[in-house]
Symmetry: C3
Subunit: 137 residues, 3 copies
């Protein structure tokens, strides 16, 4: 089993970043033909999922998250640390910090319009680390 | 690592399909005693999860999705392509397109009333492909 | 591939239990240096995710679940079995019953404040079983 890392800076505040190119680079560099990549973003205020990465869809996803799991100054968590990211934690617990992607014949098993995204819910600029475990032939 | 596929037609519109029999067939055909099956549905308007597959629960899940992530003609995504499936994409990003199931002594590690379901959120009839990677002894 | 189990009692009613110590014990007992743990809780009224496990965040997560996917006596599922846990099933389908955690140099790849939690949504005391499959070097 090999381990790789994706490190990147985010703007926080539900910044949605297409990490598919980073993942494809790992597949190429490690010459993976058949396998699975297991991604885990470290921390409790981010998530990994897939979407069609276009401006309208990004706008919709942000609006939906704000509607369902809104910023609120009075989330109980904010009083624990004098913080303002209670909603960031909740969004992460709902969407979860991990994702796996199968690889067949050297290509990610994704749809034509399906990209893998890191979403950073924290309320400030962050440097994020994604651990990538590779299980392959 | 072996790869199998489940291919099926859906009616779209949050069609919920019990794929457990398809998965059990793979376990039997591949004679898996101990392992894990990794399922990924290709595309950005579907998801895989588990539920008790009975008509009442199916009705509730559809109603809940319509309440939390409703069809709306004015999702920004719909204006990008002149489309009407913005909500389908959002539901998929929330519920995610993948799922793994452990196998022990030749049986799926699921509860008695727990079935694995494919949910197709797209707004039209679709042919779906689920990639199944098998990691086993 | 090795299989381990975590068994514990819950109070139900969205009881949130930190299972990180159980997982760390498995890593230690099995002397895992590099690998992935695949967790699946058996049943259709529970889930596994991560969070910062502190009282305020627990309170917020419970409140959010009650707001988004509320207890309702009239969920259709409740009429199927004369039951009252329709919302428990819905919460499980949304948050899903499984989670994987990479391990590097003998430690879980988690953030400092990130714990793995079992959430039991059922409406009564339960004994829960989590199957843990270990893929490692």
């Amino acid at each position: 089993m090999k381990t790789s890392h994706i490190r990147l800076k985010t703007k926080g505040n539900t910044d949605i970043i297409n990490i598919t190119p980073h993942i494809e680079k790992i597949v190429k560099n490690e010459a993976i033909q058949d396998g699975i990549l297991f991604l885990q973003v470290i921390g409790s205020t981010a998530a990994i999922t897939t979407m069609e990465y276009e401006p309208g869809q990004k706008k919709d996803l942000k609006a939906l998250l704000e509607e369902l799991i809104p910023y609120r100054s009075d989330w109980a968590h904010n009083f624990t640390w004098g913080d303002d990211n209670g909603h960031s934690h909740l969004r992460s617990s709902f969407l979860k910090t991990n994702y796996f992607i199968p690889v067949t014949e050297g290509a990610l098993d994704l749809g034509t319009w399906q990209q893998v995204v890191l979403i950073d819910f924290d309320t400030r600029v962050r440097e994020r680390e994604i651990v990538v475990k590779i299980v392959s032939e």
